[in-house]
């Protein structure tokens, strides 16, 4: 999924620039969080990429944008869980049909990964509410 282009022309204040970037990436992640409900492969992948962009922005601009460190940490855990689910999706797509027991195991592990992601996202929702009040 392509990253949204951020309107930054005429922005000459660094803090405003960072705010716009973080806000846009935050909105992107929230807009794609529905993937956690559908659990569909592509939707989860898009959501994972959006979370990654948000985390990178938060980490890169951390000296300019005061956000609780726990947000980036939790985003990292969320990404790990979604990444592990994605890896299982890739393996399941090439697994020989004769390996039914391995397939069952991978599917069950995949669901556990998505469940972990759902928990992390729930915690993140609460943490992210504080973003608006933590800006410089």
């Amino acid at each position: 999924m392509k990253a949204a282009r951020i309107e930054l022309e005429n922005v000459d204040d660094l803090h405003e620039l960072v705010e716009r970037i973080v806000d846009t990436r935050l909105q992107e992640a929230r807009a794609l969080a529905g993937g956690l409900e559908t659990r569909e492969k592509q939707a989860l992948h898009d959501f994972r990429i959006a979370c990654k962009r948000l985390r990178y922005a938060l980490e890169r601009f951390q000296e300019l944008y005061i956000a609780p460190e726990a947000i980036a940490d939790r985003l990292s855990q969320l990404q790990d869980a979604l990444g592990e689910a994605h890896d299982r999706d890739v393996l399941l797509s090439i697994l020989p049909p004769s390996m039914a027991a391995t397939e069952r195991r991978l599917k069950s592990d995949r669901e556990a990964c998505v469940n972990r992601a759902v928990v992390h996202w729930g915690e993140l929702q609460q943490l992210m509410q504080t973003l608006d009040s933590h800006r410089i």
């Binding site: 660094l14 970037i21 962009r53 990178y56 922005a57 890169r60 890739v90 390996m99 391995t102």
Partner: protein
């Protein structure tokens, strides 16, 4: 914005260092480093695309990621399969494991060839 230009140059140099390390001695860890550094850098360029003239550089970084995708996929999927095959199906997994090992080796060589031709910083 001075700070921004400095940040772009810093991440550009980091990617170049990771690329050099990988083509110097390709391995799983160095492949991971070049991919992570490239992803971070690309994300920065996308964030500030509205005020920087970096389209060509962005494309190059994207191409570098593309060049390493197959190697990364083969490595990750191979490790995952090795760790998750049901005991009763160990024999059935052998052809796929072998295919992934070959893919991993060839894709890493190909990534190395492509990255050898690329430059991200002077």
């Amino acid at each position: 914005m001075k700070w921004l230009n400095k940040t772009i140059r810093r991440e550009q140099r980091a990617l170049e260092r990771a690329r050099k390390r990988f083509v110097g001695e390709p391995n799983e860890k160095r492949l991971h480093d070049v991919r992570t550094t490239g992803r971070r850098f690309r994300s920065l360029l996308e964030d500030v695309a509205g005020i920087t003239d970096s389209k060509r550089l962005r494309r190059r970084v994207k191409r570098a990621a593309g060049a390493t995708d197959a190697a990364r996929d083969a490595t990750i999927i191979l490790r995952l399969l090795e760790g998750s095959v049901d005991r009763t199906e160990a024999e059935l997994a052998l052809p796929l494991l072998e295919r992934l090992r070959v893919q991993e080796r060839l894709a890493t060589q190909q990534a190395c060839r492509e990255l050898r031709r690329m430059r991200f910083a002077p």
